[in-house]
């Protein structure tokens, strides 16, 4: 990753060719927000921060959009809209076409043992197919191992809406270093017991024995997101919330 100050690009801008990573063998991989115009031009299609990874010869644009566009491999939290003969219709975000989730795409699910989900219930799922011509498809099982890997129906708990960019930051492998999000760790250090599931579609599910804890986690997440708090401010916010609620 480039260590310089963030480079902000606008749609249609030309990208300095020196920034484009090259490798002898590996082809260049373009992430979201970039478009390749043959023969050799690469043009941003959204406004955001250009991120270049020389090691993986990939580049993409980091942006905080308002609408979730499914892409393969994303973990999402969906809401069951209704059930059809052999799949569920799942709503990823309001007012968008539903995704489909086959009845048998759950861990060790057969015709008889499959989970029965009513409309309005939540599932944590992976996007298994996404392209612009078809409705997205979901799965709650790793198709190669047959294991759930933590995916499946979400019972109880509460869902909080956050921005897409924040959800992405939460989902980063090193969310503290790269994403600058520490609010969940800070809450955990305060001795609060809770579990979370972050959906790439801007939803965070928080489960906890105590209603108070879940509310607190939700408020901390929302406030961090809305006010764009830094790491220090996040710690301060957590301290404040814990004081308030006790």
């Amino acid at each position: 990753m480039s260590s310089e100050s963030p480079l902000v690009v606008l749609p249609g801008e030309t990208i300095d060719p020196s920034l484009i990573p090259t490798h002898k063998k590996n082809p260049l991989r373009l992430g979201p927000g970039l478009r390749h115009i043959p023969p050799s031009e690469i043009v941003p299609t959204v406004a955001g921060q250009l991120v270049v990874d020389h090691r993986k010869t990939s580049m993409w644009i980091e942006y905080n959009g308002g609408r979730y566009i499914p892409s393969q491999g994303d973990l999402i939290i969906g809401q069951i809209a209704r059930s059809a003969t052999d799949f569920y219709y799942v709503s990823l975000s309001p007012y968008t076409p539903n995704a489909t989730l086959p009845h048998l795409a759950f861990e060790s699910a057969t015709k008889k043992t499959r989970p029965q989900l009513a409309s309005g219930e939540l599932v944590y799922a992976r996007v298994s197919l996404a392209n612009r011509h078809m409705d997205p498809e979901l799965e709650c099982v790793n198709s190669s191992t047959g294991k759930a890997d933590g995916l499946g129906p979400l019972k109880d708990g509460m869902v909080f809406d956050v921005s897409l960019g924040f959800a992405r930051r939460l989902l980063m492998a090193k969310s503290r270093e790269e994403g600058k999000v520490e609010v969940l760790e800070a809450l955990g250090e305060e001795g609060l017991a809770f579990e979370t599931a972050v959906g790439r579609n801007g939803k965070v599910w928080v489960g906890s024995e105590s209603v108070k804890t879940a509310v607190m986690v939700g408020r901390a997440l929302r406030e961090t997101d809305e006010k764009g708090l830094g790491v220090e401010a996040q710690r301060k916010l957590v301290k404040k919330l814990v004081r308030e609620m006790r």
């Binding site: 809209a81 209704r82 219709y89 709503s91 309001p94 007012y95 409309s119 309005g120």
Partner: protein, 273 residues
């Protein structure tokens, strides 16, 4: 034409000769329309309304197709209560043209729909619709109350399961809004003339509890008047409920006697005279 309220304090009689706590004559019939699933005809004084209930019925193909995504809910788990009100042109003194989008009528429809939806067991009929259509033949005050009562009766006739009757009536006060006189009397069941001149409200309660399903006040009145008016109104609703209940029972007895309905178990304790 202003209403002379000064006479009230002399004899404690209202313009139509009632005392403060008297209802007007309520006459009601059920099963008046052979074609409908449930129907009723109700008079409260000179306010006359008819009601026809159809359903619960599954929707046609047009409604069933969910439009592109929409909300997360998908199909509804409860039956929808659709209310349609037609106010006949000849129902009041001045012939007022009311368009289809008349907000007052839309508000009445929404109120009746929401009030009945809370009492009817709509969860027993998922994805279906209960159609209630109300016709106003004559208006003389307490219109909303009469509509609610008629709709309740028709729903009973249609055999839609419900927790209890939703009975409604109006209550008013002899004080004008500005006057804070403590001597003002509450009035039960207002007619058109009284509604024009005096503050009032419409109350609907569930069964013989004190729980208020609908409370609509559209006139300016002192807060201190509210308690008295509400108490009188709730009490009036209980009286109305008794009357509605009698209508249903009498019709039931008649149907058994005529042999339309088989005399089943548990009906023996009903007085068949």
């Amino acid at each position: 034409m202003p209403l002379d309220t000064s006479a009230y304090s002399l004899a404690l009689l209202r313009v139509d000769g009632r005392r403060w706590n008297e209802l007007r004559r309520i006459h009601a019939q059920i099963r008046t329309q052979a074609a409908a699933d449930g129907s009723s005809y109700l008079e409260m004084g000179h306010t006359k309304v008819m009601c026809v209930v159809n359903g619960p019925s599954e929707p046609g193909p047009r409604r069933g197709a969910t439009s592109g995504g929409g909300g997360g809910g998908g199909q509804s788990k409860n039956a929808e209560v659709a209310v349609n009100i037609v106010i006949a042109g000849f129902s009041s003194v001045d012939r007022k043209r009311r368009g289809r989008g008349d907000k007052h009528i839309l508000e009445l429809q929404s109120t009746i729909s929401q009030a009945l939806a809370a009492s009817l067991h709509t969860h027993l009929f998922p994805h279906s619709t209960i159609n209630i259509s109300l016709h106003v033949l004559s208006q003389d005050g307490s219109l909303l109350a009469a509509l609610i009562n008629a709709a309740t009766l028709a729903c009973v006739d249609a055999g839609i399961p419900m927790t209890d009757y939703v009975a409604a009536c109006t209550a008013g006060s002899t004080s004008t809004y500005a006057a804070n006189d403590e001597g003002a009397d509450p009035l039960l069941d207002m007619n058109h003339q009284e509604e024009q001149e005096l503050p009032g409200l419409t109350v609907a309660t569930l069964g013989d509890s004190d729980r208020v399903a609908v409370l609509v006040c559209e006139s300016r009145v002192q807060v201190s008047r509210l308690e008295g008016m509400l108490a009188v109104g709730v009490d009036g609703c209980k009286q109305v409920r008794e009357i509605l209940d009698r209508v249903v029972r009498e019709k039931g007895i008649k149907m058994i006697q005529e042999g339309t309905v088989e005399r089943g178990v548990g009906l023996n304790d009903m007085e068949l005279d």
